[in-house]
Symmetry: D2
Subunit: 337 residues, 4 copies
């Protein structure tokens, strides 16, 4: 931590700050520059991160030296984390593809979708039973019935499952049916939900909030790891910007940035970022080329009748074509799919 | 709803869309322009809002004519909603001021703060017992103990209380102790929590998410109203932008915009927007001048020792001074404080 | 400047950096912390600001201690700058109001507008002769003819004038007719234009870019001051965010923030921020309450027929009403209007 | 154009609007819905785009049906535009790579860089002689001397050149030395400069402003085309968002979006988007996988000594490695490099 003093800071003010910092068991190093005096703090910086040093008289600004996260950082664990779920590895050489409908709507539709995405190369089946909808008047999901369909279809077809949880009270239910628990973008800072899934033994797919920095995403993952669950998959799904031609702006740079900062696997959701099915293949291609460990894609056999997000769901045939091109790109960057 | 067709839309595609729309009980009106054909839809537009018409072959874009919210709209209820809580009116001529510490930390500190903000003119005591913190290593709040302090102090001093809820499981607890239930910015789209407080009989203070549009804020309020609770206070607290000199950017325009669109009272939180106590008075002044119905301000008698948000909490004396200037501005715009 | 080293930085890397820094005539101070070693640099920091120290092997990040601007800073000049133009003071106790049509369209319309805004209390007449329009097919301004109208009307009515320049080649022309030269938001980083007006002896009204930080605004002003022209008025006119209910988001916090950082006067343009005339009065009120030194407002006697920005121009009668309420708010914050 | 009326619009108001619209030579079609009456306008929509219909009494909102650009649209010209410059095709199957230093600094450095990037596969040499710098105290470029080096080196090595223009007065100079004229991001809405290069016969590389929507980029290109110069190359170079881990956020979706909307070639600048050389290769890979027609990359043989943007310039060896991986990705998406 570096404390930069105002040009008019008095000797008393400096002593007051030094005393405070040292009372916390840290050492200080005062350095008089030409235009500013600064106080360097030596010791465990996190002790200071909760101290409002900016308001001490004489302080101009405070600059942290270290990142605020620990367990998720590559400094804490230099090697890539690989998560194993029923024979599927996430974070390894093989890029993992999660696919399925936005919402679970009917058993037969889900089964049809699962068979098709599996044969195209997807290994994880996605589908929502609890749906976070902007409008209270939109379809809110089938709940437990949907979870049953998901589990049953996945077992029949031979896939691993991922589904979203929205409420900490639903954890036992979701754990009973799903293999991977998803925290949606709107709940990335629902800290009680994060703590709850931190106590679970199921892997967690944590989506970046549309309004959240990469640092905040890592801090939210830190909530899960610090509660004991190290199996966290991070997901970039588009951030909100001023651009209106896409639903969100896919921050493809987040992939290499997160890979530098953290050991956790990173996947990309091109469907929610684009908001239009026609843009899903180029964005998925970009994500693989940028080095992601996986994709999560919405696929629906009849998007015209979908109960949610029909606009962005791919037809199974288009998904198959996309998988073909992804296979070539994966190979071009030394990966498999 | 207006459906704009692509220049190359075929007769069959147009008929397919018309048939679909009419099968939902709506009427259509096809109008051939010079460069585009459009289909106007007559009838209850909300039936169509869940239909992914954009993906129908031949469709270029779909433009809704109506806003997606109802109960919160001024069209539904033209007169201002005034919320009464134990003798305090929110949404009336008198601008209501909520003040108190960020977190409830100690009984004596809270009591001292309450006495001071009350004597300066605040009528509602704020204080967090459950704290949404970006870092799992930060102070998370005193929980029920904090709620007890809040209720006890408020009764002693003669104030109404507001406190944040983060978990639907805590509703009975929070209802027992607090007069107004706050939904924080990070939970604005925690839809299960919204539904839960929609079933409560306590008024709800709903904060705008830092990256949520005004329309989304109104849709989240619609969740609460549509579940039966019409006592919702909206709160602008700063949005996330590229500007870094403040913690968030106070969207002061939100005040008159929301007053046009909705009948619900609108208050402003200058403390979280600014992120620095020195900016709180000018922002509070701007909010009152723009027509807000209230303010929620963080005040702490010893910010250097605060366990959260020390940087943005006002000293009680500064709060008193600010109230003086707000009183004059309120008068200038035909209000009281 | 603080240079934070990577945890794996070698002794040779540290020496390489130290040598480089000292070769520039600066002193270094290496401080070994628990988790990071840092190098503090003592001396003129601006020498280093052009050095890409981040790419030196072993460097994790570089943190500047000082702001990059000088002449515009309050540290350089602690007292408020007051700009005098033909008897009008900008930056003093009296809040200055600039008003007039978006574009200069016809002599009689301009004269009518000038008379009305003057009688309502405006002292500076605005009007564009060169218009920056998003579309090449929109009205581009009357050019020199418009400038003549502006000068002539202002002299007739007894007002000072401000008008926008878009091209460095037009400076002699604009200087001949106008009292204050405006740099529009889209040209805030048109550095050649900034240098050119820096050589002028006319005051410059510099508008903040819609996506520029306050720091960048101050750096653009620094271009003008460092070329010799110290009479710069800064203008907040709304920034681009994700919110769509207003044309831009008025960053009202910019007013107190700039007043802290700089000695230059700060005015606000509520018309372009709002993009709708109905929101102009509350935003103007907020701006005055937040401490601005002036306003620039679009007024048109017949907005239905305006050749540009008709939606956001106030009728003269509404402008007069607004001035009444602004007068009261100015008084409430210890100013005049 | 669809005009949506307020629920309380009177018959007189509707007639007033209809009369106005028809006076412009357009036809109207009034349609009474359940909750709103709307007026459809039939005819040349651009006539109305300059009319402030939103302020007519009784109007709630106005929704344009058509995009505001024409010449740049794929509707106007369905086939891809291919630009030929001295034997190099831009917009064809082969992805074109522009590379070179940020600023032209010294003849020998430029020559060394040119030789290396050429042998790695770049066909166009980039280098700035006029530099838009945030700070007036930074290196501003060598001016004409730099242009001479650029032309001379390019001829020696056998490359085409691209360089930035900042001032309309410099056009004859830049035209004399360079093959492609670049408009930088900060000048994307410098409309006078756009008009000027619209009169040139040299191809123009138009960079998207960091604050500009894709629609605005297309409107700026429309300025150039409508002045007679159809050889425009569009460039995505990162937009400004709240994310701070990269200098800008590369909007990789812009590539497929622009390819849908326009016939003009689209290239990507990963260097300015990333702001750090380590992120340039993954972003370049993503851009190629998303379907771009070219890249512009900063390369410097000794970034530690670069006079601008040292942090984001690639070493020639790293550029060569990157070209290898891009070659494979280009092939995977059916292109060459």
């Amino acid at each position: 931590m570096i404390i930069v003093l105002r040009p008019d800071a008095t000797k008393e003010q400096i002593e007051h700050i030094v005393k405070k910092v040292e009372s916390l068991g840290l050492k200080t190093m005062v350095s008089q520059g030409v235009e500013r005096t600064i106080i360097g703090v030596i010791g465990k910086e996190d002790i200071l991160q909760v101290q409002p040093l900016e308001i001490y008289p004489g302080v101009e600004k405070v600059m942290p030296v270290l990142a605020p996260y620990k367990l998720v950082s590559r400094e804490f664990k230099p090697t890539d984390t690989i998560i194993e779920v029923k024979g599927v590895s996430i974070g390894s050489e093989k890029i993992v593809v999660m696919a399925g409908p936005c919402s679970i709507e009917r058993y037969d539709l889900l089964l049809e979708t699962a068979r098709k995405v599996k044969s195209a190369g997807a290994s994880i089946l996605r589908g929502g039973a609890f749906k976070p909808r902007t409008s209270p008047y939109s379809f809110q999901g089938l709940g437990e019935e949907g979870l049953k369909y998901l589990k049953d279809v996945a077992e029949k077809v031979g896939m691993v499952t991922v589904t979203e949880i929205m409420d900490p009270r639903d954890l036992p239910l979701v754990e009973r049916y799903a293999d991977i628990i998803q925290i949606g973008a709107r709940n990335m800072q629902n800290f009680n939900l994060l703590k709850e899934v931190g106590l679970s033994r199921k892997p967690v797919l944590l989506k970046r909030g549309m309004m959240s920095t990469i640092k905040e995403l890592l801090m939210s993952a830190e909530y899960i790891l610090s509660n004991g669950n190290f199996n966290v998959i991070l997901c970039e799904r588009g951030i909100r910007t001023f651009e209106e031609s896409t639903r969100f702006t896919l921050d493809v740079s987040a992939v290499p940035v997160i890979k530098q900062l953290s050991h956790l696997p990173v996947i990309v959701d091109p469907s929610h970022a684009a908001g239009k099915w026609g843009l899903v293949p180029p964005l998925a291609q970009a994500a693989v080329a940028a080095g992601c460990d996986g994709l999560i894609v919405e696929v629906h056999p009849n998007p015209e009748e979908a109960l949610s997000d029909g606009i962005q769901q791919l037809l199974p045939e288009r998904f198959s074509e996309m998988m073909e091109s992804l296979r070539k790109i994966a190979q071009a960057v030394g990966r498999k799919i």
